[in-house]
């Protein structure tokens, strides 16, 4: 390398006295960045903030013109209404929340239990036409739910799965398994097959080797995948509104949507229900945030 002594020496002073223009440019950019981010944050977060505010306002403050941002009386009545019926006992909304928990939870567990071993098999074994099979599995997710909901509706009516939690659980599982297989295959590929080889030489069967060595290493990936599946099932609206009708079966998204549309809309109740509905997913995502990022970036850093 042809670095002259003069050049080499002059780097010191240059570093100490950064040219003013450069410095200004740097700061200018960061100011712009912060400003843009702030605008974006306000735009994105305003509906959320407004939802939270509305959920703790009294109804007449909700309709106040000009809108009241800060000087309103805080009330928890709406949250009480979410869980308890006016005459005492459980409210229809609270039942729908419980349904959501059951449907999303069970379908996520099923998708994971089915998808993880499948991903392992696709990763480890020589399967005929493996790429085609994997593509076919993925292709089932290309269709948006609205496209298949009518045929599913007709099929469900035939077999008596209309307006049942089991029906929702099955369709959510079916939608989540392909996703689980694909995402988990990435994680399994990352775990060297030698762990299982070594375990098999140590006296374990192939399944034991998977269960005792690969599975523990996959737990972070499973957590991330399960959260994605859970979010899908939890938020799902189209199937839920088409395939269920009674209050005892309905999940939260159609139940909350059902609050809107009467002659008067109790916006406070809608907002409070939405807050309660959003919380579990936020908490879950927060708990596994590290693995979520790993899961999302997995494809980007593969060899």
């Amino acid at each position: 390398m042809a670095v002259s002594v003069g050049e080499a020496v002059s780097t010191g002073p240059v570093r100490d006295h950064t040219p003013p223009a450069r410095r200004f440019g740097g700061r200018g950019r960061s100011v712009l960045e912060v400003a843009l981010l702030a605008v974006l944050a306000v735009v994105m977060l305003f509906p959320v903030l407004w939802m939270i505010e509305t959920s703790i306002k009294e109804n007449r403050d909700v309709y106040a013109i000009p809108a009241k941002f800060f000087d309103f009386k805080v009330t928890m009545d709406h949250f009480k209404d979410v869980f308890f019926a006016s005459g005492g006992g459980r409210s229809a909304l609270s039942v729908s929340f419980l349904n959501s928990v059951v449907v999303a939870g069970v379908s996520t567990v099923l998708a994971t239990v089915l998808g993880v071993p499948a991903a392992w098999a696709y990763s480890r074994f020589a399967v005929k036409a493996k790429k085609d099979q994997l593509f076919f599995i993925l292709s089932t997710r290309f269709m948006p739910p609205v496209v298949v909901v009518i045929p599913i509706f007709l099929m469900y009516r035939q077999v008596g799965l209309i307006d049942t939690k089991l029906g929702l659980i099955l369709i959510y599982t079916a939608f989540n398994v392909p996703f689980t297989i694909w995402m988990m295959k990435g994680f399994v590929d990352e775990v060297p097959a030698e762990y299982e080889d070594a375990a098999m030489l140590d006296g374990y069967t192939r399944l034991q080797a998977f269960w005792r060595f690969t599975l523990p290493l996959l737990l972070p990936g499973i957590a991330a995948t399960a959260v994605f599946a859970l979010i899908f099932s939890w938020n799902e609206f189209v199937f839920a509104i088409f395939l269920t009708s009674s209050d005892t079966v309905r999940t939260a998204p159609p139940a909350i949507a059902g609050l809107i549309g009467g002659t008067t809309v109790d916006w406070g109740l809608v907002a409070a229900a939405s807050v309660v509905f959003a919380l579990p997913v936020l908490v879950f995502a927060y708990l596994v945030r590290k693995h979520l990022v790993a899961g999302v970036t997995l494809g980007a850093v593969r060899r």
Binding site: A126, K128, P192, E194, Y195, D197, A198, A199, M200, L201, D202, G203, Y204, T205, F213, P216, L217
Partner: protein
């Protein structure tokens, strides 16, 4: 302990790749047997078939007197060390070592005793309470070896276990493995693409090429009389000079007139190539006795020796190994002569050793 016999092994992967074409091996009880060959020649596949991790398409594998074709890895009673160490990342060294023993259901005191013994053999004392990610590459490999030892298996299988270590550590570990194998007397099949490793470790070496065995022999045999042109070009650094020769008047002559010591029973009427080691040639002053005129193309000073590339009027230049005290300038006119005994001679069309 047991010998290993591989008969007519053939392995075709589902995608159609023939990884092992035809391999016969008879590995003696207590032998340190090395499989040597370039990358992709089927070494790993053969080893994994012996271990039971891969099912051969056809052929038989015997460990001791048992035909193990249909036995799962767990029932073959062998230990394998991988290029990638495969230490369980969530276990400390101590538990990594104990693992195979617990799998066998040995009583606790015996597990502890065996772990301590293996740790002593591989000098792992201070590392016993660390997890793999806090061990250096060399330490991880020592733990992997110790883990193979604790079970006292009937045979060790090693798949390029030293490839990921740096050169100095590799030399140390090589010595250690050889010593250990001698001490324990356990049969070991050692796979490598590094001929130095193969030469220094093996009681016998099998040279593999494209899924076939080219030669099996002691390091000396393999070095002195490579069984085929492939082996001749593979073993040695630099490898043999392959010089086209013809037989005339009871003499073996290169195209340049270079005279080689003729081996007995040379076949006639065939195109022949002689394999001449760089140390069996000598660069001399021009016009020296029995020398042919030649020219130094380049010289490589390696400290303890000099490798001269010499043009002697043949199509191919030859490499000559000389002591560092003898110096010739590049482009200098010199003489070239053969000093060794009869070289191995190969048939050009069959590529096999004929004399």
């Amino acid at each position: 302990m047991a010998g290993i016999e591989v008969t007519a092994l053939h392995k075709r992967y589902p995608d159609g790749t023939v990884a092992v074409d035809h391999v016969d091996l008879a590995i003696g009880d207590g032998e340190l047997f090395v499989m040597l060959g370039p990358s992709g020649c089927g070494k790993t596949t053969t080893l994994r078939a012996i271990a039971g991790l891969e099912r051969q398409t056809t052929g038989d594998i015997r460990i001791g007197d048992t035909l193990v074709n249909d036995l799962p890895p767990a029932e073959r009673d062998i230990a394998m060390v991988f290029q990638f160490y495969a230490l369980y990342p969530h276990l400390r060294t101590r538990d990594n070592l104990a693992f195979p023993l617990r799998a066998e259901g040995l009583p606790k005191p015996e597990v502890r005793e065996r772990v301590d013994e293996a740790a002593r053999l591989m000098r792992l004392g201070p590392l016993l309470d660390r997890r793999p990610h806090r061990l250096s590459g060399g330490e991880q490999q020592r733990v992997a070896l110790a883990r193979a030892l604790v079970r006292r298996p009937r045979a060790f299988l090693m798949d390029e276990p030293l490839t990921n270590l740096d050169a100095e550590l590799r030399a140390d570990m090589r010595t250690e493995i050889k010593h250990l194998q001698g001490e324990l007397g356990t049969t070991m099949v050692y796979v490598t693409h590094d001929q130095v490793e193969a030469m220094s470790l093996g009681h016998r070496i099998a040279i593999l090429n494209k899924g076939r065995v080219e030669q099996i022999g002691t390091p000396l045999e393999v070095y002195d009389r490579p069984a085929s042109l492939f082996c001749a070009a593979f073993i040695g650094s630099p490898p043999m000079n392959l010089i086209e020769v013809e037989v005339a008047d009871g003499e073996l002559r290169g195209k340049s007139g270079l005279v080689l010591t003729p081996p007995p029973n040379l076949p006639r009427d065939r195109s022949l190539v002689a394999g001449v080691r760089p140390e069996a040639l000598e660069v001399t002053e021009p016009g020296a006795e029995r020398s042919v005129p030649a020219r130094v193309v380049s010289a490589e000073w390696l400290g303890d020796e000099i490798i001269y590339v010499v043009d002697h009027g043949d199509q191919r230049d030859v490499r000559v190994r000389m002591p560092p005290t003898v110096r010739f300038a590049a482009d200098a006119p010199v003489g070239l002569r053969h000093t060794g005994g009869p070289p191995p001679v190969y048939d050009v069309s069959t590529e096999e050793l004929v004399a």
